[in-house]
């Protein structure tokens, strides 16, 4: 297939991601405006990061004027999964793919784009990835700007309701695998319990939200990896 038709195929395949991102990033935009980010700043944040969980957690650090180090470590931990996805994608690219295209595809490695990319037939062509990325990121940035701009004029009731939208998306990502795999279920439960303990206990509750997430993630994932290691063969292309 020629590059232009591959690009168009990417654009069309990405439409469901566009719609999903539009709704979720709208909620993100509202939250960004809530901590006094302008629509431009919120849109720029979305354009440069394209990571729901990371951006959402980043808002907590920005709102509490946390340190750059804390923010960097938090992003590193939360977005570590992209490392795995990128590693998996590198196996699916033709070996002669130029570095410049590898760097271009890297920009758009998200849970959803990765999901479509690894499912695509045959080797991954950069033009197809760019189609997916363009349509998805458009929805992501557009929704963010609209949310940040409209958050102020929306009825408070609606804002309250959209407050759970991002959490709903996280739940939609973790619950189906947790339903099917015992170790994932245990990991999710363990992390929620630890996070709750950190939120209520004296001393521990004084930790910033970002540090709490980092500590809980490393602890829970390490315990799971030690007690319930996965077979090498299984690890290929999960999210």
């Amino acid at each position: 297939m020629k590059n232009t038709s591959l690009f168009k195929k990417g654009l069309i395949d990405g439409i469901p991601i566009f719609l999903g991102y539009l709704a979720v990033s709208f909620a993100f935009g509202i939250q960004a405006a809530d901590i006094d980010l302008s629509p431009f700043q919120a849109g720029l944040l979305s354009l440069l990061n394209v990571t729901s969980a990371g951006q959402f957690a980043g808002l907590t650090v920005i709102a509490t004027a946390g340190s750059y180090i804390e923010l960097a470590v938090l992003q590193l931990i939360i977005n570590l999964r992209y490392f795995l996805m990128s590693a998996a994608l590198s196996q699916k690219l033709p070996a002669d793919t130029p570095t410049i295209h590898r760097m271009g595809i890297a920009y758009g490695v998200t849970d959803e784009i990765f999901g479509l990319s690894v499912l695509a037939d045959g080797p991954l062509r950069p033009a197809y990835s760019y189609g997916l990325i363009v349509v998805s990121v458009t929805g992501w940035v557009l929704g963010t700007v609209l949310g940040a701009a409209a958050g102020a004029i929306l009825p408070h009731l609606l804002i309250s309701a959209l407050g759970v939208a991002l959490y709903g998306m996280f739940i939609a990502i973790i619950i189906p695998p947790a339903r099917d795999e015992g170790p994932v279920r245990i990991t999710v439960f363990m992390a929620m319990v630890m996070s709750s303990i950190f939120t209520v206990l004296p001393v521990l509750r004084n930790l910033s939200g970002g540090m709490r997430i980092i500590i809980v993630t490393i602890t829970a994932a390490s315990i799971s990896a030690l007690l319930m290691p996965r077979d090498i063969e299984e690890g290929g292309d999960e999210q």
């Binding site: 009731l157 759970v164 973790i174 997430i213 690890g235």
Partner: protein, 104 residues
């Protein structure tokens, strides 16, 4: 807002991009360590779970609507509904509860 908001955005963007780019550009071989592979596999689940709970309970105007929104999301996700259905469904549940609470 602090004047450093653009620095925050740049720090985030840089870290996030490097995580995505390094494996694609550099790593050609499979990661061999069973522990590291397993750890990386569990990371997103632990992170998203820790971010969701208990924070979701204070994400709306009242505890009751948040709890019902949470339960709605769990049920829809358990039924493997798509990302957007779960997100919008939970929001609708909150909207309904809070509207009723306002009337009663």
């Amino acid at each position: 807002m602090t004047p450093n908001v653009y620095m925050y955005i740049l720090v985030m963007a840089l870290v996030t991009y490097l995580i995505r780019a390094l494996p694609l550009v550099l790593i050609r071989k499979e990661i061999k360590s069973r522990f590291i592979r397993s750890f990386l596999y569990y990371v997103p689940f632990a992170t998203l779970a820790a971010m969701t709970f208990p924070s979701i309970l204070t994400s709306t105007d009242m505890l009751l609507s948040a709890v019902i929104g949470f339960v709605t999301a769990l049920i829809l996700a358990f039924a493997k509904k798509s990302l957007i259905v779960v997100a919008i469904g939970a929001s609708c549940a909150v909207l309904i509860v809070e509207t009723l609470a306002g009337i009663l």
